[in-house]
């Protein structure tokens, strides 16, 4: 009986963005098989970007993900600015951080409270959770709405905003338009303190791993758009060196491309990685709130990523308010640049982690090649490693509970399968 083979299968994982499945097989304490499968249809972004004009790319890559379009726009515009030798600075740079704050707020609020929190309390979804916890869900929705509002004010709409372009923006807000957001941001900041305290009080499964955390790091700020790529195990490289240090490999049992660090292995990107590597760059209110709830870095429990997510949500409000305070209207919506041939690199911090873009461009601005590595693709190997590590103990739980715990463990990473799919292998074995 003891060494009976047990399997857990989740054919269609809920409360994640996109279509994925889980398969775990255990015999006694031995884990026989772990698969986080992707069955979403490929869309071939890198292929059809060839032949497009560089100025179309931020609009097109935004369509990789409806939850984090700004991340795709930012990584691509930085890559093209790298090719053209353009440096966006001053208020335009600040506005890019500002709109990114909006995306982090809406995406983190969505994930933490509508997709992840129900797992901790045993609800199928946030709408059901709202019946018993109306206050929390409503507060989270208010915060999410303010995040969306930032994106809509700057970009016209929250999903696939239209204002970001190479060199800056198509149109920038006036000082007054920025000021109009102040009251909402203050309210969002207060609510985020409450929400952060609330998530810190959840019951967390006892689980820690010796992770390699990877994120951008910038000398002056919590990272959004610029910096070096660093890890807690000694990695410290320029963005353009990404492909010398990270590789994708075919793993025979999943037919999936997995990212790993050369000579080491899987790694984690996202809020927990960022906060562990950049805690010193957070603003005071976020630090103080984290201190008061007893959150310490480095944190190696992935279930606590929900705390990191809410801390970044709070930080984003602090940062957005700072930007409003210091905002001076720029001389124009974008800087001039000269279109030229070359290769450019961009890596920015999407809500789910580092998002790498690389393009080759012809002298007339036509894209010749494209490579995009989304955060979920980078986390996939790490997700499976987590599942493998927890499987022997989780499998001892009753079947339904075990299934749910595995699902929750995947949701720790806020996987965005629509993003990952255009580059990950499809699982072709349909059971």
């Amino acid at each position: 009986m003891k060494n009976r083979v047990k399997t857990v299968k989740v054919d269609y994982l809920a409360r994640v963005e996109g279509e994925g499945a889980l398969y775990i097989k255990v015999k006694g304490n031995e884990v026989l098989d772990v698969k986080f499968k992707i069955f979403e249809a490929p869309r071939f972004f890198e292929a059809f970007l060839r032949g497009r004009k560089y100025y179309e790319v931020p609009d097109i890559t935004a369509r990789i993900c409806g939850i984090c379009p700004i991340a795709y726009q930012m990584s691509s515009v930085h890559a093209f600015e790298d090719v053209f030798g353009a440096k966006v600075d001053g208020p335009l740079r600040e506005l890019r951080r500002f709109i990114y704050c909006g995306e982090w707020i809406e995406s983190h609020a969505l994930h933490a409270f509508l997709l992840h929190a129900p797992d901790f309390l045993g609800y199928d979804d946030a709408i059901r959770m709202a019946k018993d916890h109306p206050d929390i869900v409503k507060k989270a929705l208010i915060v999410k709405k303010i995040g969306n509002d930032i994106m809509a004010r700057l970009g016209g709409r929250e999903i696939h905003p239209v204002s970001v372009c190479v060199g800056g923006f198509y149109k920038v807000p006036t000082k007054r338009q920025m000021e109009a957001l102040r009251e909402d941001l203050k309210k969002g900041m207060d609510l985020s303190v409450e929400l952060l305290r609330w998530v810190a009080d959840l019951k967390f499964p006892d689980f820690e791993q010796d992770y390699e955390f990877v994120s951008l790091r910038h000398p002056d700020e919590y990272p959004f758009n610029e910096g070096r790529i660093v890890s807690n195990k000694g990695l410290d490289i320029q963005i353009r060196e990404y492909e010398d240090n990270f590789v994708e490999e075919h793993i025979p049992y999943t037919n999936a491309l997995h990212s790993y660090i050369k000579g080491r292995g899987s790694y984690m990107v996202g809020p927990l990685a960022r906060i562990n590597l950049n805690y010193d760059k957070l603003w005071d209110l976020t630090k103080d709130t984290l201190k008061s709830v007893g959150f310490k870095v480095p944190c190696r429990n992935p279930f606590k990523s929900i705390i990191a997510r809410c801390a970044e949500m709070l930080y984003s409000f602090e940062e957005a308010l700072r930007i409003i305070n210091e905002y001076k209207e720029p001389n124009g919506p974008r800087i001039d640049y000269e279109i030229k041939a070359g290769r450019g690199f961009g890596c920015t911090e999407a809500p789910r982690g580092a998002l790498y873009h690389r393009y080759d461009v012809a002298a007339d601005g036509t894209v010749l090649s494209a490579k995009i590595v989304p955060p979920t693709a980078q986390n996939q190997k790490r997700m499976e490693d987590d599942l493998r590590a927890m499987a022997p103990s989780v499998m001892k739980l009753p079947y339904e509970k075990a299934v749910w715990r595995f699902e929750q463990a995947v949701r720790n990473y806020d996987p965005c399968i629509s993003c990952a799919t255009h580059f990950l292998k499809l699982e072709v074995e349909h059971s």
């Binding site: 249809a41 939850i67 919506p333």
Partner: protein, 258 residues
């Protein structure tokens, strides 16, 4: 008199998730939507699944794999009313750019082992395979139009969504025409309203998220772009973006040459 609460199902095919996310982005209405409808199948939001048949099915995404074809047929059987939402579901989406290329070459370019990729030659709108009761345009859909569709479904009436062009919205907003005043090419004259003339409001040309309006004059607009000094190749690119595979925009290259 108590009315039966309609069962709603939300499905996803090849897409970015943005259109179903628009439901969740209705922050002020979300909890009420959860009361007015029985959310029977909506994987992005809930792990609870109720069996069909459903009163309403919302479908996001385009049909692009053999598996999709089977699935959409069974979804059609499960749903009394089927609503296609967004540019992927109504025009094939940005991934329909493969429709002018070799999907085999695309697979080889993106995937190290293209033999594992199961995909169709073309990315198609839902209506290519099954009867659709209603189409809501946009990349993404406008969340307030989506709310209008949901309200109309509850009330059993037709939703009030415009079929006229972006130009109408632009004029109503008091925007100065970006094409006439600044010489910026804009698809507004041939594209269906719904976004609130976003791009011209942001000093750029419309890039066609909502697809063709009723009876668009594509040829005339293309010749205006040629007058503005635009390269023919770039004009084709402009039409071939998020709704490029729509019937009215599909043959823009031929229309330009005529």
């Amino acid at each position: 008199m108590a009315r039966k609460i309609p069962k709603i199902a939300v499905y996803k095919f090849a897409s970015c998730d943005g259109c179903q996310l628009s439901i969740v982005d209705l922050e002020d209405e979300l909890l009420e939507i959860g009361q007015r409808f029985e959310i029977a199948y909506f994987m992005e939001v809930t792990r609870a699944v109720k069996k069909g048949p459903y009163d309403v099915g919302l479908v996001e995404g385009s049909i692009s794999t053999p598996h999709d074809v089977e699935l959409i047929k069974s979804i059609r059987k499960d749903c009394k009313k089927l609503v296609a939402i967004g540019a992927c579901a109504t025009a094939g989406g940005i991934q329909a750019l493969r429709n002018w290329a070799s999907v085999e070459e695309f697979s080889k370019y993106v995937y190290a082992k293209p033999e594992y990729i199961q995909t169709l030659e073309k990315s198609s709108p839902i209506s290519e395979y099954v009867q659709v009761d209603l189409e809501l345009r946009g990349c993404p859909v406008n969340k307030y139009q989506l709310l209008e569709v949901l309200s109309a479904l509850l009330a059993g009436r037709k939703p009030n969504t415009p079929t006229y062009s972006v130009c109408m919205e632009c004029k109503r907003k008091g925007n100065v025409c970006v094409t006439v005043a600044k010489g910026i090419p804009c698809l507004g004259p041939v594209v269906q309203a719904g976004c609130g003339a976003l791009c011209p409001t942001y000093s750029r040309g419309c890039y066609g998220c909502f697809g063709p309006m009723e009876s668009p004059n594509v040829k005339s607009l293309a010749s205006k772009f040629i007058e503005l000094g635009m390269d023919k190749k770039d004009i084709v690119l402009m039409f071939r973006e998020f709704t490029g595979w729509s019937k009215e925009f599909r043959e823009v290259d031929r229309l330009i040459e005529e």
